[in-house]
Amino acid sequence: MKLTARELWRRPDTRFLILFLAILGVSFFVIALNFVNNAFVVPYTTFVAKMSGVALALLGEDITVRGVVLSSPRFAVTIYNGCNGLVTSLIFISGVLAFPASLSSKAIGVVGGLLSIQLINLIRIVSLFYIGIYLPQYFSQSHIFIWQSIVIVAGVALWVIWANFYGVKAIKRN
């Protein structure tokens, strides 16, 4: 059977992938623009650094936050784009928006997912800070493949949980 664009669009799996890629592409194009980066991404990353500083201070660290740099007498770390949870959040949001569900379900998914991913990212930053203090020889590996893998898999798990609760209900009602 010859696959036309219409056939691809009618299939739920290819429709999801097309929508997912389109939403992902547009959202990352938008945040790549200089004025969006300056107006949103940088202040957002600064906010993530501040929240991490608050968490570390609550754990007893003598922490100073300057912009996106977290420093203490024992260790310092800079939070870049890619470490602020924004990438995973946008991928998660693209998955929610591309999957068949009601608008209210998608709104719940977006808000709930964003908060959950930011919490996971906060735990990640705090743990990496302590790994940098106590196990510095493992910092690079922990940062690159351990925590990045955990965050991505956590994002997928959150999406599966959302799809199970909200995607299913919407399709059965239809």
């Binding site: 995973t88 690159i144 991505i152 599966v160 199970n164 995607g167």
Partner: protein
């Protein structure tokens, strides 16, 4: 679906162990195929990508003898293999013939994305990091082109491709686990026979 979520943390650990074991092979594979792709589109063919301690050294035959050699982290390029493996291992019957075939095809596609990401990193080095030579060889349009593609395959690509590929190959399995019926196959009019 609960079983999938319960298995996922353990499968993530197993996937990390498997990836660590395969890391030298992945380093070599991504570097070798990346070199083939870069050399296929350059004349003269001067680029060599050499894996060294989990980094890729980008060597050119026309570099001066005293030039520093740019390097790229191969770990960052192919660590997302862990995610693909973990997602597959957490599904039911991961050792079945059907699932192994799907895993193989998925991995091939992911490997291709990893290699393209490496190639774009190499082109980014050439377009931005070699001073006057870069400005002479690459136009503003070319630099923006490679810059954007590298950015896209770095951030959303590395993080999103394993999920997309896994979902694309396992859509029916996943939607069945979620209890979603495929509404597309239902006849729309009364008395109309469903298509075979």
């Amino acid at each position: 679906m609960r079983r999938f979520l319960r298995r996922l943390p353990l499968m993530l650990v197993i996937a990390m162990v498997l990836w660590l074991a395969m890391r030298p092979v992945l380093d070599w594979g991504v570097s070798a195929f990346g070199q083939v792709l870069v050399r296929s589109f350059e004349y003269p063919r001067v680029t060599r990508i050499v894996p060294e301690e989990h980094r890729a050294e980008v060597r050119r035959a026309d570099f001066r003898a005293d030039s520093k050699i740019p390097t790229l982290s191969l770990t960052e390029i192919h660590f997302n293999t862990i995610v693909l493996l973990a997602l597959y291992l957490a599904l039911p019957k991961p050792g079945s013939k059907h699932q192994l075939e799907r895993l193989f095809m998925s991995w091939c596609i992911l490997f291709l994305t990893q290699t393209i990401n490496l190639v774009l990193h190499v082109k980014f080095i050439y377009a931005f990091s070699l001073g006057e030579w870069s400005l002479a060889q690459y136009s503003d349009l070319a630099r923006n082109f490679y810059g954007f593609l590298r950015y896209f395959t770095d951030l959303p690509g590395r993080f999103g491709f394993p999920f997309m590929i896994w979902l694309g190959f396992n859509w029916e399995l996943l939607t069945a686990s979620l209890g979603i019926e495929d509404q597309q196959d239902s006849p729309k009019k009364k008395g109309r026979k469903p298509r075979s």
